[in-house]
């Protein structure tokens, strides 16, 4: 036994991550305003959410963040395609964060500084939100429940929640009048926002997972149905072929299975109760193949419903095929059916030994007569064309009323 590999050639289809380059380009696709923050994030190799938070925080200093943003916008070009840049190590990211904090402290010593409270509130809220907005994370509190989330992700979520709570606390402590007006309203709103941030992404992901699961289940059902069909048909035939030592029989089995499988694959399977002469002729041909182990090539042009006279035509065609299979010695038989201009024609042709129509033996004459009689009774005609060594052709014609 040897194994033969069947199927398409294996392909190199590895996903290639592009290397980080320091050329600053704006992002083409995944952007909020002009793709500047995304572009900076790609160039630095850090999360774009943090870069956006940095721009927002910087903007509290008399709009400096907005100015820097627009300056970068002016001098950069759009990236054509979105690539996935390599992320830097946590250490480097922390370094960038500390450098940003240093910049803010430096700005605090200048006359531009608005107030500590404003910068701290905005910065804490911006970075807190950034820490929580990670596409791959299920949300801060859900992250603590979800076992698939890894440790750095959990830390990031906790960091984000702490920043948000801190920012909101500073905000609440400094907005006394607002706190007096509607403490209940404020707490309700804060709770709502908290729950949304905590569980919103998780719920969304659950919904997506459910859809995926349903599709997968449908696919599996289809696969099971196909497996059942293949088992009943193809595998049975393959088993039969393995046990058979007669090449002719093997070839017929294979051929029969091929036709059946193709009909099933391409949806040509005969419908229940669909009485068409094309289907009936194909079935008859298959039966002759199976019974006599001679392949029959069927070509059908046009079609007609089965009725009494077309059934006679079918019966005669069947007899002609059996006859050719038994007596001609040909290695294949052709069956051609055509419906045109109010008349049906069937040709059963073989390239076998043929015979002298005038001098045929009584039993064969009998078959020829029975073919002829059958068709003529139903109002058609039969013609048998043969010569010794030149094969045989039985031609049957049947007039039909055009529908």
């Amino acid at each position: 036994m040897s194994l033969i590999e069947v199927g398409p050639a294996p392909r190199d289809d590895q996903h290639v991550k592009t290397k980080r380059d320091l050329h600053l380009r704006r992002r083409g696709g995944d952007r909020v305003v002009a793709g500047v923050a995304g572009g900076v994030a790609d160039a630095l190799g850090v999360s774009d959410a943090f870069v956006r938070a940095a721009f927002v925080t910087l903007s509290t200093v008399w709009g400096l963040g907005i100015l820097v943003y627009m300056a970068i916008w002016l001098v950069t070009v759009d990236r054509v395609e979105d690539t996935e840049p390599e992320m830097v190590e946590l250490q480097q990211a922390l370094g960038l964060g500390i450098a940003f904090a240093g910049l803010m402290i430096l700005l605090g010593t200048t006359g531009l500084w608005p107030s500590n409270v404003l910068v701290i509130i905005v910065g804490a809220l911006a970075f807190g939100t950034a820490a929580l907005t990670d596409r791959n994370m299920p949300g801060p509190l859900a992250a603590l429940i979800d076992p698939t989330v890894e440790k750095p992700g959990r830390l990031r979520m906790l960091f984000g929640v702490a920043l948000l709570i801190g920012g909101l606390a500073v905000f609440a402590a400094n907005v006394g009048p607002l706190y007096e007006i509607g403490p209940v309203l404020l707490s309700v709103a804060l709770t709502g926002v908290g729950i949304f941030i905590a569980f919103g992404p998780w719920v969304a992901r659950l919904a997506i997972d459910l859809g995926t699961e349903r599709r997968e289940r449908i696919r599996q059902e289809e696969r099971a149905e196909m497996a059942a069909h293949l088992h009943d048909s193809v595998l049975q035939t393959l088993a039969l072929i393995q046990r058979s030592d007669d090449p002719a029989r093997m070839s017929i089995l294979a051929r029969h299975q091929e036709t059946e499988l193709r009909d099933w694959l391409y949806g040509n399977a005969p419908l229940e109760g669909a009485d068409l002469i094309s289907t009936a002729l194909k079935d008859a041909a298959r039966k002759v193949e199976a019974d006599h182990q001679v392949p029959v090539d069927v070509v059908v042009v046009g079609d007609h419903t089965l009725n009494e006279s077309t059934r006679a035509l079918l019966g005669a065609a069947n007899e002609a095929m059996v006859n050719a299979a038994k007596h001609s010695g040909a290695d294949r038989i052709s069956l051609y059916f055509e419906a045109e201009n109010g008349s049906l024609a069937v040709y059963v042709t073989d390239q076998g030994r043929g015979f002298e129509p005038a001098g045929i033996a009584m039993d064969r004459r009998g078959i020829a007569e029975s073919i002829r009689a059958r068709v003529e009774r139903a109002g058609g005609e039969a013609h048998i064309d043969s010569e010794p060594g030149e094969g045989t052709e039985v031609i049957l014609r049947m007039p039909v009323a055009a529908t």
Partner: protein, 210 residues
């Protein structure tokens, strides 16, 4: 010697055909998928390409069209288990010069390759049936009625092919030369490729009932 190239995503079948044809033809190469087939055929410039109708990524049609743009002299013979008429007709309309089923006898396949190489068309009984069906009974269009109909002689030739007769026998039955049979078949091929009859494109969906 005639250079032959094979395209089939079914490797077992491909190996079998290669063995059958290698005595008589130079087998210059083979491919299992559309993209590498187009690239290699453009480089090797074979005389005849045997091509499977059904393949992933656009199938045989994609290869016939892709190669036709750069190497118009490469001739295609479609070879398939499919008996979906619309696929086969589409393949011929894309530029293939013949269609035979994979159950063809090795000797007949070699004949078909020789015929395609000589510039003739190769119609298997099944293709002849498809063509008769596609052209049957419809009215010719006004722009080019000649292209949209088969002559009665062409129909006679196709009917005999559909009945399983070889070109030689067709010629004898109609009292014409083999060359004339080939001319008729080539003319049918031309009509098949150039006719604007919309039935040809969409025809398979409806089966005609007399």
């Amino acid at each position: 010697m005639t250079k032959v190239y094979l395209v089939d995503d079914h490797r077992l079948f491909l190996a079998g055909v290669k063995a059958e044809l290698s005595e008589e033809f130079v087998m210059v190469g083979s491919a299992y998928d559309v993209d590498s087939a187009i690239e290699e055929i453009r480089g090797l410039d074979p005389d005849v390409v045997l091509i499977d109708v059904h393949m992933p990524d656009g199938g045989g049609i994609a290869v016939v069209e892709g190669v036709g743009e750069t190497n118009p002299d490469v001739k295609f013979l479609a070879l398939s288990v499919s008996d979906q008429a619309e696929d086969v007709i589409a393949m011929i309309r894309a530029g293939a010069r013949g269609y035979v089923t994979k159950t063809i006898e090795p000797q007949d396949l070699a004949d078909a390759v020789r015929r395609i190489d000589a510039g003739d068309a190769v119609f298997s009984p099944r293709l002849a049936g498809f063509v008769l069906d596609a052209f049957a009974g419809a009215m010719p269009s006004e722009e080019d009625p000649e292209l949209d109909q088969l002559t009665s002689r062409e129909k006679d030739v196709l009917r005999l092919i559909a009945r399983g007769f070889a070109y030689k026998q067709v010629a004898r039955k109609l009292n014409i030369s083999i060359k004339t049979v080939e001319t008729h078949v080539s003319s049918v091929l031309r009509k098949l490729q150039l006719s604007n009859r919309h039935e040809l494109a969409r025809w398979a969906s409806k089966r005609r009932i007399v």
